[in-house]
């Protein structure tokens, strides 16, 4: 068997074990939190009697271990179950939320990744001169400002003052692609600013690292333009660390954007998860947790694969 295929198979098997472990941790975590779904639903209006009624109706009076294995059995058969709080089918609701999350992440990534790499290349080309300083300075500033503040600043100027873009990014089925892109313009802008700096700086650092190599000098000596040297000779050799950082940021765009979702009222998975954690709605938390964990594991696997393929020494191990 080709070593690459063996690697993938091994990593997928490990990934499944990791997912199981994650589900146990999430379940235990929600059990440890104070209060349960019944007291969270009823809130200040709870009485002993209504609490007991609701616990019995939701099956919360049974031991946690039993509930976990029932849930696991369902998931293995492809059934994510129903939400405890509003008794809706989790898979259907989650599918809509997930497609929204992926839609936002996709457009943010489509803009941010090429832009970050291009800016990284430009920064290396003019290293130590004003374009480098300008790019480094602005991207550093944009990652240093908390996302919610960036969001509010963008909303204040672009939505409230100049009324160019909507501040509420509501998504629903009746919108065409143009409407949707318009709606997510502000959140995409904020997300791009948040992830740009990290990827751009890693690109710059990784390329600068290989710029010291002998073959770069050779390329320069044979008369290639400085930009061609960087793009054709330095970048391919710096791809492994860049891909790793890109993947971390892609994962972040999928799982870590709850703050941006709240600021722009975007119906993604983050807000959905937070609502259900607050209500101790374990099946939903489990389902979201599994998806988030799978995204991380999958993207990491992809990053490793790309680094191996990009590196002939790893591609053909002795």
């Amino acid at each position: 068997m080709h070593p690459l295929i063996r690697l993938v198979a091994r990593r997928i098997a490990l990934g499944i074990l990791l997912l199981l472990a994650a589900s146990v941790l999430i379940f235990a975590g929600t059990e440890v939190l104070p209060g349960d779904v019944a007291s969270a639903i009823l809130g200040q209006g709870a009485t002993e009697k209504t609490l007991a009624n609701l616990r019995e109706a939701l099956g919360l009076d049974r031991p946690a271990v039993v509930r976990y294995f029932e849930w696991l059995g369902g998931v293995l058969q492809g059934d994510l179950g129903t939400s405890l709080t509003n008794r809706r089918d989790i898979a259907t609701t989650l599918a809509g939320r997930m497609s929204n999350t992926l839609f936002l992440a996709f457009w943010a990534a489509v803009i941010a990744v090429p832009l970050a790499i291009l800016l990284g290349l430009v920064a290396v080309r003019y290293q130590g001169r004003w374009p480098d300083k300008l790019i480094s300075g602005t991207t550093l500033a944009s990652i240093s400002v908390p996302e919610f503040l960036l969001g509010y600043i963008a909303a204040f100027f672009l939505a409230v003052q100049f009324k160019l873009l909507p501040s509420v990014a509501t998504m629903h089925g009746g919108m065409d692609l143009g409407d949707k892109l318009m709606a997510i313009a502000l959140p995409v802008l904020v997300l791009v600013l948040t992830v740009l700096g990290h990827m751009m700086r890693m690109t710059r650092a990784a390329i600068l690292n290989v710029m010291q190599s002998a073959y770069i000098e050779t390329a320069e000596l044979k008369g290639l333009s400085p930009f061609a040297v960087i793009a054709r000779h330095a970048l391919p050799n710096a791809i492994a660390p860049v891909v790793n950082v890109v993947m971390i940021n892609l994962a972040y765009l999928v799982v870590g954007v709850v703050v941006v979702e709240v600021v722009f009222v975007y119906p993604g998975m983050g807000q959905y998860l937070v609502d259900h954690v607050a209500k101790r709605d374990v099946p939903v938390v489990q389902a979201c947790g599994l998806i988030f964990a799978a995204v991380y594991i999958g993207l990491n696997l992809l990053a490793d694969l790309i680094s191996i393929i990009a590196n002939p020494r790893l591609r053909h191990p002795k």
Partner: protein
Amino acid sequence: MKDELNYILARTVAGKQSRRAFLGRAGALGLSAAMANSMLASAVQAAGPVKGGTLIMGLGGGESTNSLDPALAASQVPFHLLRTTGETLVDTTASGELDFRAAEAVESTPDAKTWMFKIRKGIEFHNGKTLTPDDVLMTLQRHADQNSQSGAYGIMQGIESMKVDGDYVAVTLATANADLPYLMSDYHLQMQPGGGMENPADGIGAGCYKVVVDEPGVRHVFEKHANYWDSSRGHYDSVEFVVINDPTARMAALQSGQIHIANRVEPKVAQMLATVPGIQVKNVSGRGHYVFIMHCNTAPFDNKDLRLALKYAIDRQEMVEKILQGYGSVGNDIPINAAYPLFDETLEQRAFDLEKAAFHYKASGHDGSPIVLRTSEVAFPGAVDAAALFQQTAAKAGIPLEIKREPGDGYWSDVWNAQPFCASYWGGRPVQDQMYSTAYLSTADWNDTRFSSAEFDSLLLAARGELDLAKRKGMYGQMARILQDEGGLICPMFNDWIEGVSDKVQGWVADGVQEVMNGLAPQKTWLA
């Protein structure tokens, strides 16, 4: 000049020119902006409601966990959803009278024990079925059921039996209650076909608008119920709720014109919002109040002098100014204010008095160990700051308060109604009896001050059966005095409802029973 003014006024009301253009022209004709504005507003009101259009409300207080089941509603968005799509037997008007909805009349036996609701004919559910007395009976039975999880379960407990009698639904109580019709205005008690026994969360109601899109925690869209019985309500073709829990995002959406009405405007931004062109801040004094509650049966709060010392040591005026930014009124250590029917105006206002506080503190013989006050941001907006203000004024009277900040998660299960001294809030109730029965009767489930007074209890029960209003008012006055002096409730302030409303929304009326015109903005307002 007058003719020209009338002409441009008529054009503006008819929507042929913008409000801004009108103000400009009126200014050119020598009118001040304020005069022109009020002239326009009265002309628009006089022209009557405009039909059509879509009202978009940006609401905080909705989660993706919300259900359409009326029994399970607890936060703001489900409240508005039920008020928009449902119909109760009766409703409460802003001035505290009964407004007959699904019931067109109510009669009682002289002992106030049996109440007969005459069910209105010709009310149609959203699924085309006609509302019958049986539907009413089954709805009430579902909420009164032993195994119910309904938010209205508590108020249904006094009911002994219910039955259908021709066009009437008869409700018989175990003990007399002159306020029973008011209890039926609870927003959980929405009529459902078959009482919602089979599928309580199907969203089928008998209200003004019907559910078209239901995405909990995101948006809810309603369209006009064509066969709604009350033609004086429901001027919009459709209504949309956008759930915006982040207060800053809600204000941004209002200012950028994406929504017409925003609920829960924070007091600290209300004054700034009022200066934004095209937006009005509406505030109305409500019945909701922010409280610090002591358990009357737990040391050291089992000492009446210590309770009084703490009551005198709080500066209510400062709280209203600093926590509510003036959007509220001072409390008087009872859960009732002038917004309630039968309120006793002669009750003396408790003053901030450090000398009396120090006197009672000394008389209590407290050992001087710090008194722990638990608070959290979820207790009420500004609860942490309010506790700090309380700590400072108490310290001036020599009373050592120690603030313990609790996490918002689990506050309502682990701290409120469990710990002896904490911050909390109460929403209003339609009548005094219900407020007192919910939380101050010694046997009440939610007696969060562990208050127990035989005299208070017997007055409360006697007042329920008293159909003579003057006598009842006297009884409520007596109860208020007992609670004010002996109770475990420190009530520094009643909070206003504050909403941000676009100038386009017309027909707004002040109604403080609950927020956003008691949830009736979609039914009573229209777009100019």
